[in-house]
Symmetry: C2
Subunit: 191 residues, 2 copies
Protein backbone atom coordinates (compact mmCIF):
# COMPACT_ATOMS: atom_id res chain seq x y z
CA UNK A 1 0.00 0.00 0.00
CA UNK A 2 2.72 2.42 0.98
CA UNK A 3 4.61 1.54 -2.18
CA UNK A 4 1.68 2.16 -4.50
CA UNK A 5 0.79 5.34 -2.64
CA UNK A 6 4.38 6.48 -3.15
CA UNK A 7 4.31 5.56 -6.81
CA UNK A 8 1.10 7.48 -7.32
CA UNK A 9 2.38 10.59 -5.60
CA UNK A 10 5.79 10.30 -7.32
CA UNK A 11 4.04 10.68 -10.65
CA UNK A 12 2.51 13.96 -9.51
CA UNK A 13 5.73 15.67 -8.44
CA UNK A 14 8.63 16.83 -10.55
CA UNK A 15 11.92 17.69 -8.88
CA UNK A 16 13.85 16.88 -12.05
CA UNK A 17 15.16 13.57 -10.72
CA UNK A 18 14.54 10.41 -12.76
CA UNK A 19 13.77 8.07 -9.87
CA UNK A 20 12.65 5.24 -12.14
CA UNK A 21 16.05 5.22 -13.87
CA UNK A 22 17.82 5.26 -10.50
CA UNK A 23 15.72 2.36 -9.22
CA UNK A 24 16.51 0.50 -12.45
CA UNK A 25 20.23 1.16 -11.95
CA UNK A 26 19.98 -0.09 -8.40
CA UNK A 27 18.29 -3.28 -9.56
CA UNK A 28 20.90 -3.80 -12.30
CA UNK A 29 23.77 -3.27 -9.83
CA UNK A 30 22.23 -5.68 -7.35
CA UNK A 31 22.58 -8.34 -10.06
CA UNK A 32 26.05 -7.24 -11.21
CA UNK A 33 27.82 -5.72 -8.18
CA UNK A 34 31.18 -5.46 -10.00
CA UNK A 35 29.60 -2.77 -12.21
CA UNK A 36 29.20 -0.68 -9.03
CA UNK A 37 32.97 -0.11 -8.82
CA UNK A 38 33.50 3.48 -9.90
CA UNK A 39 36.71 5.50 -10.24
CA UNK A 40 36.39 9.28 -10.05
CA UNK A 41 39.24 11.48 -11.23
CA UNK A 42 40.59 15.01 -11.24
CA UNK A 43 43.79 16.49 -12.58
CA UNK A 44 45.30 19.69 -11.19
CA UNK A 45 47.75 22.02 -12.94
CA UNK A 46 49.69 24.59 -10.92
CA UNK A 47 49.36 28.06 -12.44
CA UNK A 48 51.30 30.42 -10.13
CA UNK A 49 51.57 30.94 -6.39
CA UNK A 50 48.62 29.16 -4.77
CA UNK A 51 46.51 29.42 -7.93
CA UNK A 52 45.67 26.17 -9.76
CA UNK A 53 43.25 24.85 -12.33
CA UNK A 54 41.77 21.38 -11.99
CA UNK A 55 40.07 19.57 -14.85
CA UNK A 56 37.45 16.87 -14.47
CA UNK A 57 36.69 14.62 -17.41
CA UNK A 58 35.87 10.94 -17.81
CA UNK A 59 35.32 8.48 -15.01
CA UNK A 60 35.10 4.70 -14.84
CA UNK A 61 31.87 2.93 -13.92
CA UNK A 62 29.38 0.26 -14.99
CA UNK A 63 32.40 -1.75 -16.16
CA UNK A 64 33.54 0.81 -18.74
CA UNK A 65 35.20 4.17 -19.20
CA UNK A 66 32.48 6.82 -19.19
CA UNK A 67 33.37 9.77 -21.40
CA UNK A 68 31.75 13.16 -21.01
CA UNK A 69 30.80 15.60 -23.73
CA UNK A 70 32.83 18.31 -21.96
CA UNK A 71 35.71 18.70 -19.54
CA UNK A 72 34.93 20.79 -16.44
CA UNK A 73 37.50 23.24 -15.05
CA UNK A 74 37.58 24.35 -11.42
CA UNK A 75 40.13 26.88 -10.18
CA UNK A 76 41.38 27.38 -6.63
CA UNK A 77 43.52 30.01 -4.92
CA UNK A 78 44.14 31.56 -1.53
CA UNK A 79 42.73 34.92 -0.38
CA UNK A 80 44.49 38.27 0.02
CA UNK A 81 44.89 37.90 3.79
CA UNK A 82 47.27 35.04 2.94
CA UNK A 83 49.18 37.37 0.60
CA UNK A 84 47.68 35.53 -2.40
CA UNK A 85 45.60 36.85 -5.29
CA UNK A 86 42.12 35.51 -4.47
CA UNK A 87 41.53 34.40 -8.07
CA UNK A 88 39.21 31.59 -7.01
CA UNK A 89 37.73 29.84 -3.95
CA UNK A 90 40.09 28.22 -1.48
CA UNK A 91 40.47 24.42 -1.52
CA UNK A 92 38.57 24.13 1.78
CA UNK A 93 35.67 26.15 0.36
CA UNK A 94 35.57 23.68 -2.55
CA UNK A 95 35.18 20.87 -0.01
CA UNK A 96 32.27 22.77 1.60
CA UNK A 97 30.76 23.15 -1.88
CA UNK A 98 31.11 19.41 -2.44
CA UNK A 99 29.34 18.71 0.87
CA UNK A 100 26.60 21.27 0.17
CA UNK A 101 25.89 20.02 -3.34
CA UNK A 102 25.95 16.35 -2.32
CA UNK A 103 23.39 16.86 0.45
CA UNK A 104 21.25 19.11 -1.77
CA UNK A 105 21.19 16.60 -4.65
CA UNK A 106 20.25 13.94 -2.11
CA UNK A 107 17.34 16.02 -0.81
CA UNK A 108 16.01 16.36 -4.37
CA UNK A 109 16.38 12.65 -5.11
CA UNK A 110 14.79 11.51 -1.82
CA UNK A 111 11.95 14.03 -2.22
CA UNK A 112 11.22 12.70 -5.70
CA UNK A 113 11.25 9.12 -4.39
CA UNK A 114 8.86 10.08 -1.57
CA UNK A 115 6.52 12.07 -3.78
CA UNK A 116 7.30 15.42 -2.19
CA UNK A 117 7.30 18.45 -4.47
CA UNK A 118 10.18 20.80 -3.69
CA UNK A 119 9.87 24.53 -4.32
CA UNK A 120 13.24 25.70 -3.06
CA UNK A 121 16.24 24.25 -1.23
CA UNK A 122 19.05 26.32 0.16
CA UNK A 123 21.96 25.05 2.24
CA UNK A 124 24.17 27.44 4.20
CA UNK A 125 27.47 26.05 5.49
CA UNK A 126 30.01 27.37 7.93
CA UNK A 127 33.21 25.64 9.02
CA UNK A 128 35.61 26.52 11.82
CA UNK A 129 39.36 26.37 11.29
CA UNK A 130 42.15 27.34 13.65
CA UNK A 131 44.97 28.55 11.39
CA UNK A 132 47.55 27.65 14.03
CA UNK A 133 47.35 24.16 12.46
CA UNK A 134 48.32 24.85 8.83
CA UNK A 135 50.79 27.54 9.89
CA UNK A 136 52.60 25.01 12.10
CA UNK A 137 52.28 27.21 15.21
CA UNK A 138 50.70 24.51 17.39
CA UNK A 139 51.04 20.80 16.60
CA UNK A 140 48.01 20.05 18.78
CA UNK A 141 45.78 21.98 16.36
CA UNK A 142 44.57 20.07 13.32
CA UNK A 143 45.05 21.46 9.81
CA UNK A 144 41.44 20.99 8.73
CA UNK A 145 38.08 22.04 10.08
CA UNK A 146 37.29 21.63 13.78
CA UNK A 147 33.56 21.55 12.97
CA UNK A 148 31.10 22.12 10.12
CA UNK A 149 27.52 23.37 10.40
CA UNK A 150 25.02 22.88 7.58
CA UNK A 151 21.66 24.61 7.72
CA UNK A 152 18.90 23.80 5.22
CA UNK A 153 15.98 26.06 4.35
CA UNK A 154 13.50 23.98 2.39
CA UNK A 155 10.16 25.02 0.93
CA UNK A 156 8.22 21.91 -0.08
CA UNK A 157 4.70 20.48 -0.11
CA UNK A 158 5.34 18.55 3.09
CA UNK A 159 5.15 19.04 6.84
CA UNK A 160 8.14 19.88 9.01
CA UNK A 161 8.73 16.25 10.07
CA UNK A 162 8.71 14.98 6.48
CA UNK A 163 11.15 17.74 5.48
CA UNK A 164 13.46 16.82 8.36
CA UNK A 165 13.28 13.18 7.28
CA UNK A 166 14.29 14.15 3.72
CA UNK A 167 17.45 15.77 5.01
CA UNK A 168 18.20 12.87 7.36
CA UNK A 169 17.92 10.34 4.53
CA UNK A 170 20.08 12.49 2.23
CA UNK A 171 22.74 12.70 4.97
CA UNK A 172 22.55 8.91 5.49
CA UNK A 173 23.36 8.22 1.83
CA UNK A 174 25.67 11.17 1.07
CA UNK A 175 29.08 10.28 -0.34
CA UNK A 176 30.67 13.59 0.71
CA UNK A 177 29.10 13.55 4.18
CA UNK A 178 30.78 10.16 4.63
CA UNK A 179 34.11 11.41 3.23
CA UNK A 180 34.14 14.38 5.62
CA UNK A 181 32.90 12.60 8.75
CA UNK A 182 34.93 9.39 8.36
CA UNK A 183 38.59 8.74 7.54
CA UNK A 184 39.64 7.85 3.98
CA UNK A 185 43.11 6.58 3.10
CA UNK A 186 45.04 8.77 0.66
CA UNK A 187 48.24 7.55 -0.99
CA UNK A 188 50.47 10.32 -2.39
CA UNK A 189 53.31 9.50 -4.82
CA UNK A 190 55.75 11.72 -6.75
CA UNK A 191 57.36 11.61 -10.21
CA UNK B 1 72.95 29.66 9.31
CA UNK B 2 70.21 27.51 7.82
CA UNK B 3 67.78 30.39 8.16
CA UNK B 4 69.98 32.91 6.35
CA UNK B 5 70.84 30.33 3.68
CA UNK B 6 67.11 29.84 3.14
CA UNK B 7 66.49 33.55 2.95
CA UNK B 8 69.24 34.00 0.38
CA UNK B 9 68.00 31.19 -1.86
CA UNK B 10 64.36 32.25 -1.39
CA UNK B 11 65.19 35.61 -2.96
CA UNK B 12 66.45 33.89 -6.12
CA UNK B 13 63.33 31.88 -6.84
CA UNK B 14 59.85 33.03 -7.75
CA UNK B 15 56.95 30.62 -7.45
CA UNK B 16 54.49 33.48 -6.95
CA UNK B 17 54.17 32.88 -3.20
CA UNK B 18 54.86 35.73 -0.80
CA UNK B 19 56.70 33.76 1.88
CA UNK B 20 57.75 36.85 3.80
CA UNK B 21 54.10 37.88 4.23
CA UNK B 22 53.20 34.35 5.34
CA UNK B 23 56.02 34.28 7.88
CA UNK B 24 54.86 37.69 9.12
CA UNK B 25 51.31 36.37 9.45
CA UNK B 26 52.59 33.36 11.37
CA UNK B 27 54.52 35.61 13.75
CA UNK B 28 51.48 37.87 14.25
CA UNK B 29 49.21 34.87 14.96
CA UNK B 30 51.70 33.42 17.43
CA UNK B 31 51.22 36.64 19.43
CA UNK B 32 47.45 36.81 18.96
CA UNK B 33 46.18 33.22 18.59
CA UNK B 34 42.49 34.25 18.73
CA UNK B 35 42.99 35.93 15.32
CA UNK B 36 43.73 32.45 13.93
CA UNK B 37 40.09 31.41 14.32
CA UNK B 38 38.66 31.39 10.80
CA UNK B 39 35.15 30.61 9.57
CA UNK B 40 34.83 29.48 5.94
CA UNK B 41 31.42 29.50 4.26
CA UNK B 42 29.51 28.34 1.23
CA UNK B 43 25.87 28.63 0.29
CA UNK B 44 24.17 26.19 -2.08
CA UNK B 45 21.00 26.78 -4.09
CA UNK B 46 19.13 23.85 -5.61
CA UNK B 47 18.45 24.43 -9.34
CA UNK B 48 16.73 21.26 -10.59
CA UNK B 49 17.25 17.54 -10.21
CA UNK B 50 20.77 17.01 -8.86
CA UNK B 51 21.99 20.33 -10.30
CA UNK B 52 22.95 23.07 -7.82
CA UNK B 53 24.92 26.29 -7.69
CA UNK B 54 27.05 27.15 -4.68
CA UNK B 55 28.33 30.62 -3.98
CA UNK B 56 31.39 31.48 -1.96
CA UNK B 57 31.85 34.98 -0.64
CA UNK B 58 33.20 36.49 2.55
CA UNK B 59 34.84 34.59 5.37
CA UNK B 60 35.78 35.47 8.95
CA UNK B 61 39.40 35.63 10.06
CA UNK B 62 42.00 37.80 11.78
CA UNK B 63 39.22 38.90 14.12
CA UNK B 64 37.05 40.46 11.42
CA UNK B 65 34.74 39.72 8.53
CA UNK B 66 36.87 39.49 5.36
CA UNK B 67 34.96 40.66 2.31
CA UNK B 68 35.99 39.68 -1.22
CA UNK B 69 35.84 41.78 -4.34
CA UNK B 70 33.81 39.03 -6.03
CA UNK B 71 31.54 36.09 -5.20
CA UNK B 72 32.63 32.77 -6.70
CA UNK B 73 30.06 30.33 -8.10
CA UNK B 74 30.63 26.58 -8.35
CA UNK B 75 28.02 24.28 -9.88
CA UNK B 76 27.58 20.56 -9.28
CA UNK B 77 25.46 17.87 -10.89
CA UNK B 78 25.38 14.11 -11.48
CA UNK B 79 26.37 12.41 -14.74
CA UNK B 80 24.17 10.83 -17.40
CA UNK B 81 24.73 7.28 -16.12
CA UNK B 82 22.78 8.40 -13.04
CA UNK B 83 20.00 9.67 -15.32
CA UNK B 84 21.06 13.24 -14.59
CA UNK B 85 22.14 16.03 -16.96
CA UNK B 86 25.89 16.23 -16.33
CA UNK B 87 25.81 20.04 -16.21
CA UNK B 88 28.79 20.21 -13.85
CA UNK B 89 31.23 18.03 -11.88
CA UNK B 90 29.85 15.68 -9.24
CA UNK B 91 30.17 16.66 -5.56
CA UNK B 92 32.81 13.96 -5.02
CA UNK B 93 34.87 15.30 -7.92
CA UNK B 94 34.73 18.72 -6.23
CA UNK B 95 36.22 17.13 -3.11
CA UNK B 96 39.02 15.63 -5.23
CA UNK B 97 39.59 19.10 -6.72
CA UNK B 98 39.81 20.55 -3.22
CA UNK B 99 42.39 17.93 -2.25
CA UNK B 100 44.39 18.41 -5.46
CA UNK B 101 44.47 22.19 -5.22
CA UNK B 102 45.33 22.19 -1.50
CA UNK B 103 48.32 19.89 -1.97
CA UNK B 104 49.43 21.80 -5.09
CA UNK B 105 49.28 25.20 -3.36
CA UNK B 106 51.24 23.67 -0.51
CA UNK B 107 53.95 22.43 -2.87
CA UNK B 108 54.33 25.95 -4.28
CA UNK B 109 54.49 27.56 -0.81
CA UNK B 110 56.97 25.04 0.60
CA UNK B 111 59.14 25.27 -2.53
CA UNK B 112 59.26 29.06 -2.19
CA UNK B 113 60.19 28.76 1.49
CA UNK B 114 62.96 26.28 0.65
CA UNK B 115 64.32 28.28 -2.28
CA UNK B 116 63.33 25.73 -4.93
CA UNK B 117 62.24 27.09 -8.30
CA UNK B 118 59.25 25.19 -9.69
CA UNK B 119 58.73 24.86 -13.44
CA UNK B 120 55.59 22.74 -13.48
CA UNK B 121 53.43 20.85 -11.01
CA UNK B 122 50.68 18.47 -12.01
CA UNK B 123 48.62 16.29 -9.68
CA UNK B 124 46.54 13.41 -10.99
CA UNK B 125 43.93 11.95 -8.63
CA UNK B 126 41.83 8.83 -8.76
CA UNK B 127 39.35 7.67 -6.11
CA UNK B 128 37.56 4.35 -5.77
CA UNK B 129 33.88 4.20 -4.87
CA UNK B 130 31.57 1.22 -4.63
CA UNK B 131 28.13 2.52 -5.61
CA UNK B 132 26.46 -0.21 -3.55
CA UNK B 133 26.93 2.23 -0.66
CA UNK B 134 25.03 5.30 -1.87
CA UNK B 135 22.41 3.15 -3.62
CA UNK B 136 21.66 1.41 -0.32
CA UNK B 137 22.30 -2.06 -1.79
CA UNK B 138 24.80 -3.14 0.87
CA UNK B 139 24.95 -1.47 4.29
CA UNK B 140 28.49 -2.79 4.79
CA UNK B 141 29.72 -0.60 1.90
CA UNK B 142 30.51 2.99 2.76
CA UNK B 143 28.97 5.87 0.80
CA UNK B 144 32.25 7.67 0.14
CA UNK B 145 35.61 6.72 -1.35
CA UNK B 146 37.29 3.47 -0.33
CA UNK B 147 40.68 4.95 -1.30
CA UNK B 148 42.26 7.96 -3.04
CA UNK B 149 45.52 7.99 -4.99
CA UNK B 150 47.33 11.27 -5.73
CA UNK B 151 50.27 11.29 -8.13
CA UNK B 152 52.46 14.37 -8.55
CA UNK B 153 54.64 15.13 -11.56
CA UNK B 154 56.94 18.00 -10.59
CA UNK B 155 59.58 19.71 -12.69
CA UNK B 156 61.77 21.85 -10.40
CA UNK B 157 65.38 22.91 -9.86
CA UNK B 158 65.88 20.25 -7.18
CA UNK B 159 66.83 16.61 -6.87
CA UNK B 160 64.34 13.78 -6.50
CA UNK B 161 64.68 13.63 -2.70
CA UNK B 162 64.08 17.36 -2.29
CA UNK B 163 61.03 17.14 -4.55
CA UNK B 164 59.66 14.24 -2.50
CA UNK B 165 60.25 16.26 0.67
CA UNK B 166 58.26 19.18 -0.80
CA UNK B 167 55.25 16.95 -1.32
CA UNK B 168 55.63 15.36 2.11
CA UNK B 169 55.68 18.76 3.81
CA UNK B 170 52.69 19.97 1.79
CA UNK B 171 50.77 16.84 2.82
CA UNK B 172 51.75 17.37 6.47
CA UNK B 173 50.23 20.88 6.49
CA UNK B 174 47.32 20.40 4.09
CA UNK B 175 43.89 21.35 5.41
CA UNK B 176 42.02 19.20 2.88
CA UNK B 177 44.33 16.19 3.31
CA UNK B 178 43.45 16.35 7.00
CA UNK B 179 39.71 16.74 6.30
CA UNK B 180 39.70 13.70 4.02
CA UNK B 181 41.94 11.42 6.10
CA UNK B 182 40.50 12.26 9.53
CA UNK B 183 36.93 12.55 10.82
CA UNK B 184 35.26 15.96 11.13
CA UNK B 185 31.98 16.51 12.94
CA UNK B 186 29.16 17.89 10.79
CA UNK B 187 25.94 19.20 12.34
CA UNK B 188 22.98 19.40 9.94
CA UNK B 189 19.87 21.39 10.84
CA UNK B 190 16.67 22.19 8.91
CA UNK B 191 14.34 25.21 8.62
Amino acid sequence: MTMSANTASTAKVNNGVNVMALLGAREALEKAPEAANFKWRASCQWLNGTHSRSTIGSFFGLGAEQPRTKVFAVEADHPKVFAAEDNAPTPVELVLTGLASCLTAGVAAVAQRRGIQLHSVKATLEADMDLQGILGIDDEVRNGFSAIRVHFEIDADANADDIKALVAQSQKRSAVFDIVTNPTSVLVTVN
